[in-house]
């Protein structure tokens, strides 16, 4: 008995860009289907391949990370695996009970209470009532919304709805689990709870296909990675290679060369001859911004904010100010030179933006505000893009 749970061979799916044509093609496809014919294998006008020639195998207890830019065909592929839509070419074999964490809380009626909706949602997911009765307390406990279980779901926040939906879906033990980026809505504590649950299922032999834009999640759970780009797939047996290929998709196109010089002074102070030493940084390089300023009044005790954020990962940023480092900075009257240096930025294989802002005392007025795109080269043998600690210096 083989332990292959999902086998996809050369799967294709086409979509149509124009709604009017799409509906008309839908009519013709329905006619063809009813007459027992195959739809046309070639593209028609306004159609494109949303998924093109995808093949892979998913084995028991393994996790395949599915990554790619928005619109790369990840969700379309999941919907085919789930049997919601048919492939236009190719073949998918599925063995085992499949559970999709795609639409958490689907089938919830907003007027009914959480308790009633647990039963409805479980029935939609194919879980018998007896099983829900048995696990009811676990489900409520896991969702963490005990106090609201008898309130109508329309009074829940979107995060609470997702919590309840996940709690129901995760409490049946599927052979195959499809996880689309659904957990992003929950708060941090709930997300880690969910990932623990996924780890537990994996340990028990569930084969998982995990879609995420968070490369940390992918690196943590995936044994193999499939990168989808414009519907075409590349399989990586070594996860860091896949993650790097994914970030390179954005390094090539995502970097804008333009420094956004949003503010460079006011009536009484002007920053000029601002120089950025390096914008392509190797692992040990420092980032530094040197500038001249000319002030007609004294600016005592200014705040200098630095912000570094990744262009690809919204959760990854570092923000600090000279106050945090217990440094007082004055900008005395006259012409002077100053330099802001950020040392040892442990960003790896990433594009980022560095924002430097200078405020007057007590932040009543902004004096300077530049946003500078930078590229961090990859360190050897590293995965992901990690921040550890940042040293900060003002001269």
């Amino acid at each position: 008995m083989s332990d292959v749970l999902v086998a996809a061979e050369g799967v294709h799916k086409k979509f149509c860009r124009s709604l009017k044509r799409s509906l008309w093609y839908g009519m013709r496809d329905m006619g063809a289907e009813l007459l027992g014919l195959c739809g046309p294998p070639e593209l028609r006008k306004d159609e494109f391949w949303a998924v093109q020639g995808v093949s892979f195998e998913l084995r028991r207890g393994s996790t395949l990370g599915l990554i790619g830019h928005n619109g790369a065909g990840k969700t379309t592929l999941l919907r085919m695996l789930n049997g919601l839509i048919k492939p236009d070419r190719g073949r998918i074999n599925v063995r085992g009970r499949m559970q999709a964490l795609i639409a958490l809380g689907a089938g919830f009626n907003p007027l009914l209470t959480g308790r009633e909706n647990i039963y409805v949602n479980a029935a939609v997911l194919g879980i018998p009532k007896a099983e829900v009765d048995r696990r009811f307390d676990d489900i409520v406990e896991f969702s963490g919304i005990n106090d609201f279980i008898d309130a109508p779901v329309q009074s829940y926040s979107s995060g609470m709805t997702v919590r309840l939906g996940f709690a129901v879906a995760a409490h049946m033990n599927p052979d195959i689990l499809l996880v689309d980026e659904v957990l992003a809505v929950g708060d941090y504590g709930f997300q880690s709870k969910c990932y623990n649950k996924i780890g537990e299922l994996k340990h028990n032999g569930t084969g998982i296909i995990l879609v995420s834009h968070n490369m940390h999640t992918i690196s943590t759970f995936a044994d193999r990675v499939m990168l989808l780009s414009k519907g075409r797939s590349t399989l990586f047996d070594y996860v860091p290679d896949g993650v790097r290929a994914y970030t390179n998709l954005f390094a090539a196109t995502g970097m804008s060369d333009d420094i956004e010089k949003i503010l460079s002074g006011n009536g009484s102070i002007t920053f000029y001859d601002v120089q950025v030493a390096k914008r392509v940084l190797n692992p040990a390089d420092s980032f530094s911004l040197s500038m001249w300023y000319e002030a007609t009044t004294d600016y005592r005790d200014v705040d200098i904010d630095t912000l570094i954020y990744s262009s690809t990962d919204p959760w990854l940023y570092f923000q600090s100010t000279n106050k945090a480092y217990r440094r007082t900075v004055d900008l005395p009257e006259g012409r002077h030179r100053m330099q802001v240096t950020i040392k040892d930025i442990p960003l790896n294989n990433a594009t980022a933006k560095i924002v430097v802002t200078i405020w007057t005392k007590n932040r009543t007025e902004k004096l300077f505000w530049w946003r500078i795109p930078v590229v961090f080269r990859a360190a050897d043998y590293s995965t992901g893009n990690n921040f550890l600690q940042v040293a900060y210096e003002v001269n």
Partner: protein
């Protein structure tokens, strides 16, 4: 791990090939899903019912007042001789009232599949569950609606001094056939109706027109060409049949009644196949 290996795993194969090419497998999976959808259908039915009445003050009121009002209008028009439908062999108020209630039952059945599937579009697009459950739950809703109407019909019979006989029970079966006819037609229109909004408009207009060519508030005409109304309109034999059996214990047009009953069975199965086979294509054209 061992526990998994001992278990018989369900399996599925997805290919571009039309499901109509493998009728054996299609029928087996239809039957399997119909059985598998009973609990879900019941849950959906209870969900929709309790949600509906939770947001409504008048509740079941809406299920019988519109046809009762239509019936009253015709009773008044008839009694004042503003319209003349000829004579009926049972008191006209009973005739009209039962007629409009049954007609309402039919139109609700006609609209039920499309509106149920439309309302379920978000879960259809995202979850693979037995699609039969939606239709079965719509059928349960129609049975619920039927039970309310039967209570009202019994009230009407008693008010106008007619006896409630055991013939009510066979007439219930005919009413269920009437529901199935409506749902069959509605289900057949559902795939196209999911893509194009025109179907909903056609239904709305068509039902109004259909009312007038069905012997609801007037007795079935016997002279050609008007007798075609009773002959070609599939609703006529069931509607008049249910009314006749309930009030007189007899069916007037046995042949056309039997023909329509068979037609209904074929229609329901055919519409079910069409619904099932075309649904993946509809889901594909819906946003996810």
């Amino acid at each position: 791990m061992d526990a998994y290996d001992e278990r018989e795993l369900p399996s599925a194969v997805y290919t571009p090939e039309s499901q109509m090419r493998t009728p054996g497998r299609l029928i087996r999976s239809m039957w399997k899903d119909l059985k598998g959808s009973r609990e879900l259908a019941w849950r959906l039915f209870v969900r929709d019912l309790s949600a509906r009445y939770r947001q409504s003050l008048l509740g079941v009121f809406w299920s019988f007042v519109p046809p009762v009002i239509t019936g009253l209008v015709f009773i008044i028009l008839h009694s004042k001789r503003i319209v003349n439908f000829g004579s009926t062999d049972i008191p006209y108020p009973v005739f009209a009232m039962v007629g409009t209630l049954l007609w309402q039952l039919f139109t609700e059945s006609l609209n039920a599949p499309l509106s149920t599937v439309k309302a379920a579009a978000p879960i259809l697009a995202k979850i693979n569950f037995p699609r039969e459950a939606l239709i079965v739950s719509a059928f349960y809703q129609m049975l619920f609606s039927l039970s309310i109407k039967v209570v009202v019909i019994i009230g009407v019979l008693l008010v106008f001094g007619m006896k409630v006989t055991p013939w009510l029970i066979p007439s219930l079966l005919i009413m269920i056939a009437l529901i199935l006819l409506g749902m069959g037609i509605g289900l057949l229109l559902t795939p196209v109706g999911m893509l194009y909004s025109d179907i909903a408009s056609i239904l709305a207009v068509g039902i109004q027109f259909w009312f007038f060519i069905t012997p609801v508030v007037y007795p079935a005409p016997t002279t050609f060409p008007y007798s075609l109304i009773a002959f070609l309109n599939p609703v006529s034999p069931l509607l008049t049949g249910a009314r006749d059996v309930m009030t007189k214990g007899a069916i007037t047009h046995t042949a056309s009644f039997l023909a329509v009953t068979w037609l209904t069975v074929v229609l329901v199965v055919g519409a079910w196949v069409v619904y099932r086979v075309t649904l993946p294509i509809i889901v594909e054209r819906m946003s996810s």
